[in-house]
Amino acid sequence: MSSAFLLKLLLIIAFGGAFLTYVLGKISSTIRDFFAVLVSCILVIIVVYLYGKPVKETFYLGVLGLPLVLRLNMLSWFFALPITSVGALSIIFSLRYIRKREKTDFYYMTMILVNAGMLGIVLSGDLVSFYIFWEIMSWSAFLLISYNRGPALAAGMKYIIMSVVGSAAMLIGIISIYTNYGTVIISDISTHLAAASSGYILFLLILYFVAFGVKNAVWPFHTWLPSAHSEAPSPFSAVLSGILIKMGTYGFLLIMYTIVGLKVFLDLSWGLFSFHYILCWFGAITVVIPTFTALLQNDAKRLLAWHSIGQIGYIIIGIALGTSLGIAGGIFHFLNHATFKALLFLSVGAVEYRTGGVRDLNSLGGLIKRMPITFTGALVGSLGIIGVPLTNGFVSKWLIYKALISQGNPFLAFAALIGTWGTLLSFYKFLHNMFLGQLPEKYKNIEKAPFSMQFPIIIYSLVIIVFGILPGIPLKVINSIDTYFGFESLHINIWGIASETGALNTINIFAAVLVAGVIVWLISRLGVKSKPVPQEDTYAAGSYIPEEKYHYTVDFYNPLYRMIGPYLRDVIDDFYRILAKGVQRVCDRIKRVYAGDVGYYVIYIVLFLAVIILIQVGFKPW
């Protein structure tokens, strides 16, 4: 089979699979579950098979006289693989998570549809099909966010309104490009834009910054994300945070380095200000404010959601910096964030499933004794997002810090580094309040998560550690994306990076930690064996130990909250609320004019004609 045919087949399977799942669900839920998993796995297999088989633009459909084309290059492959894999693992996780709920057919259909939409985005070779797939993705995501009803409906509404604003910006950009150059095919546009004025390019970049910034939740477009992520069903939160918001990252890469082009993009400056540095600073703000806002959260999924925004900041800094190290770090961080954030959401989902929907960090505790695999998953995910060495998050963050420092940007580097410490604080709280400490009486008999939930957790944990010790595997692919954009190639080894200004060797670190650990373990074996004691047997200086709740969780970082809390009000959200109220008031006024009564409209028409006639009689302009 030719790769071009496979590309079309991929989309046919994805879209056809979505609708067939719905139909099969009406027959039997077991067949539907099996089919949904099958479809998502076939997508992964096809994408894996397509590695290193680039496809030039192939025509598949004509709309309004415009040819729509598909294409596959290294960049889109690198996004397509996480899309399909995260989708497949989330569907496997959903098998048990969603079983007893309503409208499961609909759930599976939209899950696969979101995946199909995202695949379409990365495979489309022209802006019109990009837009169409973008809308399919956005709207099916809306359906899934509001799946739980109640507060989820409001969250979904907030998401879709902001998303529509972004889409409108994108549409204006596409129309403007089409009217100027008469083509929507991406490779043609880039040759045309090479001769465009810098003002026009800035206009396009700002439009697309709004379009992709909303989906990517870059500050100041981040306000939809916290409630949308926390109210969505957990397996979909994993897709939403891991992959879907990263379509904005793909869009940024596409517009900045493929459509506008490396040289033009980096040269876009006025005196001291250059566009890509301003974008970097947007990234830095996106790292710092949301990360420290996350510290204040008490809802496990809301905490993760705020961190999604924070981690997006790292990606933006990386890709906007415009050096080969920075881009590599940004793209690698996209992949890593997809793995550890999906893992964290699934771990919370497993806890939620077993405790009956509890995700309040103040009422859990001690679950490590009942759900050890889930704890391990959450631990590995937390280490990854903090960026502890030997996890993949460390390597990508190291690349970004390194790029910033070697570019002479200590202030941006400071924002990135301090973000890591905020992450450390909130993820210790996350682990401690859920899994460590004392197990409450009511959770004494909780079972461990079912295998269909443990399986994705184990897979993600393995990926995080393997890519942390052998970062050369993904970095090789990323390096070819770098060279495709026109950067110089990096010196990639299987164990990391060799460069003139300081190397990184993760295998040595791994070996050192392993050997040191074994030696310390052996030394500890020399001592007298310790006696295992139950959790009630703790030192309390002779005072009485209460049985029900003896776990320090509420206001875990109270002195810090009191100091930084007042500075972390989400002013942007307040601004949008005021804006929304204002718009509503204006619309109410307009509604009074459009009363819905035919009599009024007749009067309006007569008045309008009268004015026209008056003008004609008075000034004779026509």
């Binding site: 001690g366 490590i368 004794k369 280490l383 903090i386 502890v388 190291w398 810090y401 390194k402 420092i405 002479g408 200590p410 580097a413 400071f414 580094l417 301090i418 450390l424 604080l425 210790y428 682990l431 401690h432 899994f435 460590l436 400490g437 004392q438 200004t501 300081g502 060797n505 040595n508 670190i509 050192a512 930690v513 040191a516 650990g517 030696i519 310390v520 500890s524 020399l526 001592g527 007298v528 064996k529 310790s530 006696k531 295992p532 004691v533 959790q535 703790t538 030192y539 309390a540 200086a541 003896y550 776990h551 320090y552 875990f556 970082y557 109270n558 002195p559 810090l560 009191r562 100091m563």
Partner: protein
Amino acid sequence: MVIKIIQIIVYPILTFIIGIFFIGLSRKMMARIQRRYGPPITQPLIDLIRFFYQKGISHGSIFNFGVILSLAGSIVVLLFIPFGRMSPLSSSGGLLVILYIMLFAPLGIALSGGEGANPNISIGISRKLILSLGYEVPFLFIILAIMTYYKTTSITEIVKIQQEAGWALFTIPLFLPGIAYLLILPAIIGMRPFDIASAPQEISSGPMVEYSGKYLALVHIEHAFTLFIGIALFINLFLGGATNIGFFFLKMIVLFVIVLIVNAVFPRYRVEQAIKYLWKWPTLIAFVGLILTKIPIF
């Protein structure tokens, strides 16, 4: 290669001896400042041996694993920090790597303590993490100033340049970050006025409260290593390292005695006071230092 392996074996042992000696010295000196006689200087070593023979308790697998991870992490950090001419692993990563491997030790204790299921531990860890966020703000400015000024992230390079061109502490823009580091050094190694995380009189030594027997011994060794790392980092970054172990040790002792004197006379800060202090003067001085390194006239 053989030399490196010997260094990898010798380095942690030397560190252990120096760290334990420092703890003994601190108890003796504190006693003398407070006009007591104090324990013999070998007392910490005797205690360690005794702990290994005492039967302790354990709260579960992460409780044990965390302690081991923490000590192993400290050992790995050592191998990246030059000690005289020894720096066996420094070619595998520079300051940025050191900064992040330094996370293993507190993280291990935090995870281990978490399973200890004692609120004193949780309070202690919460304080420790807040404090670390507190000193990390000036600390990051300091190392960014160093890295920007010397245009490298490799710690061996930084030491080499200083040995040729003079100590960073006496270089024009870098003396500011140096002073800031001195101001936050007690916080980094957890001595008064910043011993809020352990605070024996308030929260029963915080994270340490559930350890006994061999795990208490391991935690004590880890503490000795932390002392060594905090001081050695300052010597390498600002006092030009040293060409041999003897000089390095001499510089360490001088610095440690200064910290001890502060430790002996200052009472403990509250958490808010500590953060306010750390985010005010040290941060301001380090920040000005960083800005000055960006100005090309220096």
